[in-house]
Subunit: 213 residues, 2 copies
């Protein structure tokens, strides 16, 4: 939507410019937000401004690239000695880490790769992150008792979405990591808990049949 | 969505608390936004924080309640001497002012009433705004040559949405303003320009037939 901006004060225009373009926020919603905030009063505006500003203090973990506010360079997961070093889940987004932590099933670590391209091409930043993981595996997981210095992860779980694109990207990542893990796995597929067979689509049912246990 | 917050730094939690609850933003989108902003870097964060903070300088027009950043208490429309004082469009939202200004058809003024309740009840703030308009009409539009001191608007256009709720609210507002205008009108209804008869719903077609010209 092209807004007739002549009527709008400069500070509203600046707000719309700054916020539209963020994920899920277009110019129309940014405009509504601006009016809402102005109506909400100075204290609320101050609170929001501070909430944004304080994000400046966050860092990305030098190992898994998850967000943290620790003084050192590692996040809470990576610096936790009780977490297994040799099980690594590869995810696209930080929010996926939060989701995968919830069931408390895997006591491993993560690599946040960033959202993957639909064409199945890894960006240079993503390649760097994968190389970071390879270095970690080679150095930190090296078994001094074994002859070769090269370490190997026990398991790498490629937790991309169970979609066509997610499958494509998972296979590309798996190829990149060949030789760096004893086992490369993906998340199980089937009918979601609480779901009904009647409403499951054909692919889901097919996966559920293949993976019956 | 209830996020497992233990993993998240306090500043992310504060951001999510502050932003979820704004119109159209839930906790999930607020979380995504936070991660996106952190990934975007300190300069972008600073820019956004400033864009929010600068909304503090905005005021509501003392006459029509539209937003402005003028030193005086009136907005650009209300202080414009070339605008007719005796044609007033009553709208719910500031964005409606922007939309209605675009066709450049009516050189009048506005009253921004705020979003109306679906039950057709005017809030006390909205009643105050209507009373403000009544006072304006009585005083500013008084005709000294006429016997009575009471002024009247030439036309009040009640520009609520053409929905069941909008119609209900329009009739309530019209009742409130009886005697304050020579003519109380609403926006025309019919098939939108560029629309096709085939896809117009029954009510729209009915309105288009009634209002044929």
């Amino acid at each position: 939507m092209k807004l007739k901006v002549k009527l709008l004060p400069q500070s509203i225009k600046n707000f719309i410019d700054a916020f539209s373009g963020l994920p899920g926020i277009g110019p129309r919603q940014a405009t509504r937000l601006a009016f809402k905030l102005v109506a909400g009063g100075k204290n609320k505006i101050e609170e929001l401004s501070r909430a944004v500003s304080e994000l400046k203090n966050l860092k990305l973990c030098s190992q898994c690239f998850f967000i943290h506010s620790n003084f050192e360079s590692l996040c809470d997961i990576c610096k936790n000695p009780n977490r297994r070093k040799d099980i690594i889940m590869i995810v696209e987004k930080e929010t996926d880490v939060i989701s995968l932590e919830r069931p408390k099933k895997i006591n491993g670590r993560y690599l946040v790769l960033g959202e993957l391209d639909k064409a199945g091409i890894l960006e240079s930043g993503q390649k760097l992150r994968l190389n970071n993981l390879k270095t970690f595996i080679t150095k930190e997981l090296a078994d001094p008792s074994a002859g070769s210095g090269q370490g190997k992860a026990e398991e790498i779980i490629i937790a991309t979405n169970p979609t066509t694109y997610g499958d494509l990207n998972a296979s590309i990542i798996a190829k990149e990591l060949t030789g760096f893990a004893k086992k490369i796995t993906r998340l199980g597929r089937g009918i979601p808990t609480g779901g009904e067979i009647e409403f499951a689509d054909e692919d889901t049912l097919g996966a559920a049949l293949e993976r019956r246990n």
